[in-house]
Symmetry: D2
Subunit: 351 residues, 4 copies
């Protein structure tokens, strides 16, 4: 196994998700930020000048003086976290994988590529084995690409993963998503104060496909998508962090309320996931109050890595069940999930 | 026909909906506020002292000096608007109907009573004929009670009424409701700033039953509920006014996008509704932009009486269609609807 | 006098202030929008495509199809409203004035130019005579430039204008400014939700100089600035519209509370201002409640053109008085004020 | 010295400040919550039922089952934290002091009583000696009452304490206060969303007197108030936590920018304060960015116990300096300060 701490690079380090990587990696037991990488506009400048820190608290202390590297830099870190925008990610991530780096990406560029997993360890840790397929297909030696899901797919998949044994046939999702999901500067305040925007460009198609891949089973060298029908509606609400989803689901068999609650409560995910440093314990937290989860009051549960569920009750239209789920979109739905993914890859020997 | 202007009384005049009645009746061509009625705490005081004006702008000028009457006052106005809370409404409204007054109520107390209509004129004007049934059943001479719907049911029913010819079989609703729906003081700011509350007490059962009555057909002396299955999830969002609903619907037949858009665009409601003073024209406004309707930007369309719809697209889970609808909850969903209801009753000779 | 309606052009028509011009000029008794002008990015496209409408309600009906003209177009309208950003405004406005157009500008480019007035008609209508100076100095025939103030200076000057007779010696202002003051997209929601930003770039210097010019007296061919000392602190708050200022003022003489209240109540501004179509009546509205003015509840008073004041009480530090004032920043503080300015110029024969 | 951990009681444990006490005392090295006390409505019920938890995260685990005691209970804890409302506090706190308890109060009831200190340890730790005066005056043996300041006075006093050597002559404050300062349910969302309320009942008189006592010097058996003139204006803004103040100050001597910045940076407060468990280090944090401090981004600095200052620049009206200061109102301005006060009393031997 690799010696720890492991040096890591952050691509897109100046953006909102890049900042969250920096914040979450502070004091990480395995990883040490070695390289900060960003676009030409930032490259060559000290991080504290290049980045406008938008998170709570102070900009990072000792990292502030670190020089930001350009996207074409020759990186030393084996492990690379990418918070690049989709178009840039496509070229840069592929090149780095080819050069031997393991890339844990937040971008959507490669999510639907057959040999690239959308990894949510508690739900689908075995999908990580697709890295072997990547290496053979593309002649990569030590490199590889794994992605994490769209930030709204995360609470959907996490809440449904424990329920797969009941035979998921249909999933109906209406989301209420936080503004941080759009990055910085992102949503203009003139658009969202005292308002809801019932549309997020490109989000619904992702939410109608990614969960089926994530909840699918690794079948030899590819993933067999979950055979279910999905409908997604996405809304932006005036909330800082925390994506909430109203989910209805129909199962192939008759399922009781108790069985669902039990499945959630017992859920831990496959080994070695529960023992990884960033893994929340438990990953799914069930709230009994009628008015929970709420984004502001529940987004930091489990260090922002837990998915909080509640309000389980029958859905007469789907002839199934409906519930509310919520997860921190820039932690569990972005940077935090990538870090957990990387921990799994380290543990599995891919890094 | 009755001489105009017609004197009207407002019950619960000091509350948030009572204030909206006062605001909307200013300059009304048919109605003149003659009596302001409120609970014992307010009775006997000048209105401007008894009420804490929470709407935009100034408290009402000349009404400010008007003495607030107690709930047991002997009212002179034939027409009574009630913004009373449910428990008080039950007793007072019944007594007033027995005493010959026509009560247009915002309370839920009598909505599910078989001989009481939940009136949304464009959608179900013929239901007003139940007043004849009331009079015969209860021996009332000139009195009667009509209600308007729960404020969230309004945009649901208004958007679906034009689509009844397609055979509505299933309705799935997820709401995002404004804080004014909870009255004043209502929702504490500590609960809703930077937050969404996925629960509104008692709201979902109403939203799963009232629309079926409202969309039903008058069959002799009673209403045959629309034979469909409903599911409702209600959320409170940090928006001042305007309830937005994400609606999925399954029809008994195959329906095209064009047919739905045409039905919405052509919809006017039965005569004499389109000619009533408060009727919006058109009642259903279709927006083509991908990100509309929005509560803040669309709630005042048609003086707050229109229902704005958009984002029509297929729903693969229901094997039907989904769309977004929005209406001003204290205008179309409360006071404004009551006023339109009263106009219909006047035109029909019930007042 | 010129024939009405008078054709007008709007420069920067696609921006937030440009949109407010369009909204406020709808149905204006004297002015008719003839030309919509914007940057190269928008020029040549229909207005409805070029502009992303950010105000409440619908984009403008018949104007939507109008082709947007480029900044170097040969304009036909004698009267030009400019909502251009400062750098662009500098070149374009000067060129148009030279070509015979009267430019009513929202930009700061020429505010401190000695021969250009910062016009707030109720407070300083005589300053309009500087146009004669402009024409002689620059050889302009029918052209001229007038500006309106920084949007935060508007409520300060309007509240203090009636108090000039008491001898203003010192003005201390702390502002709480709405997000619409920053235009669109303007303030990112990630910066302002659940937050206050105690800084607005370039705002405090403007607020410490413009009011002294505006409150000054026309002395022959130039304005003698008000001889007083000023201090300004500017904050951005999560409010859509309405700039509120906490003002402390020291007078040269002892002044009673009653005298100040009377001065505000009696204030109308010099003739012909009170009779202009857009002039609010009264221009200064005094609220007696302890918790008014408030941006949301008072910004639309007088069609958004009034300045609402309240909370008058002694300030022991300045040995004077302190109070709160509020005005709608994009109406009274921007587009609405420009329109009122133009009405004054028409009435004075400059157009 | 007393044995640790020391049992403490929390009065008003179910309210917003009471909850903050519980949150902050979790894991405290010296104090252990032994008794939860609240009004009759809550007494006798388990805490988790009696209290509606309004803070972020989960209600307290093991304390949830604890039975809430009535206000007249015979308390065992020597040390009592009081989050009672003013009227109730007056009677209860006095009685407990007489019965030998040391009461650290958030209420305003005794703040202006001459022998009761308003303690902000970094600023005025010597004032704690007034407990000796109390004991002699009232015949109390081991009891006593200390208060902490109004939540808005805290950042004012903390920012000015390091500047006392320059001779403070005048203080002008305009506050922008968070909604949590009003408790729960507190400010209705209908009042504060998209709004600012320029008034907080009773707040300005407190803010114009308490700082003068707090910044005063202990002179024998009483406090000589700081001899300066004060002016305060208080505003409520839509912010969850964090009171921000815009402060102008005039000194008796000429002071340079560098001298002020140095005084802030060097400030630690008298021994033994810097070594107390809850003392932030440093207590005053200077931010160099032009747009800081901000409530959301800076309120948690130093665990919510630091005061963050910035924007130092000359104030021409006061012929002095102006700056912005911010502190967490329910931590530094309430529960956290009481805990720090109690730590000082323990260290000084009063508990």
């Amino acid at each position: 196994m690799v010696n720890k701490p492991i040096d890591v690079a952050i691509l897109g380090a100046t953006g909102a998700v890049g900042q969250r990587f920096i914040q979450l990696l502070e004091g990480h037991p395995w990883f040490r930020i070695a390289e900060l990488v960003a676009s030409d506009r930032s490259a060559g400048r000290p991080y504290s000048e290049a980045a406008r820190w938008v998170l709570t608290g102070n900009p990072p202390g000792e990292l502030g003086a670190r020089e930001v590297l350009p996207l074409d830099a020759d990186l030393q870190s084996r492990l690379v976290f990418s918070a690049l925008p989709g178009d840039v990610a496509k070229e840069v991530e592929w090149r780095l994988a080819g050069a031997g780096h393991v890339v844990c990406s937040n971008a959507s560029a490669y999510r639907m590529q057959p040999e690239v997993p959308i990894l949510l360890p508690e739900a689908n840790a075995p999908h990580a084995a697709l890295i072997d397929v990547q290496r053979r297909l593309h002649g990569w030696t030590t490199g590889g690409i794994i992605t994490n899901s769209n930030c709204t797919a995360a609470p959907v998949v996490m809440a449904l993963a424990p329920l797969r044994p009941f035979g998921i046939e249909a999933i109906h999702v209406v989301s209420m998503q936080a503004i941080s999901g759009a990055g910085y500067p992102g949503v203009p305040s003139l658009d969202i104060l005292d308002n809801v925007i019932p549309y997020i460009g490109g989000e619904e198609p992702k939410l109608e496909t990614e969960p089926r891949k994530m909840l699918g089973a690794l079948d030899g060298e590819k993933i067999a998508f979950l055979d279910c029908v999905m409908s997604a509606t996405c809304n932006r609400v005036p909330v800082l962090d925390g994506h909430m989803v109203s989910v209805s689901v129909r199962f192939g068999e008759s399922v009781s309320e108790v069985a669902i609650l039990q499945a959630w409560t017992d859920f831990r995910g496959p080994d070695p996931v529960p023992g990884l440093p960033t893994a929340p314990n438990p990953p799914v937290v069930v709230r009994a109050e009628p008015d929970r989860p709420q984004p502001r009051r529940d987004r930091d549960v489990g260090g922002g890595m837990a998915t909080v569920v509640g309000r389980l009750r029958p859905d007469p239209v789907l002839d199934g069940w409906k519930f509310v789920a919520m997860a921190h979109n820039t932690v569990r739905g972005a940077a935090g999930c990538s870090i957990l993914n990387a921990e799994l890859l380290v543990e599995n020997g891919y890094v």
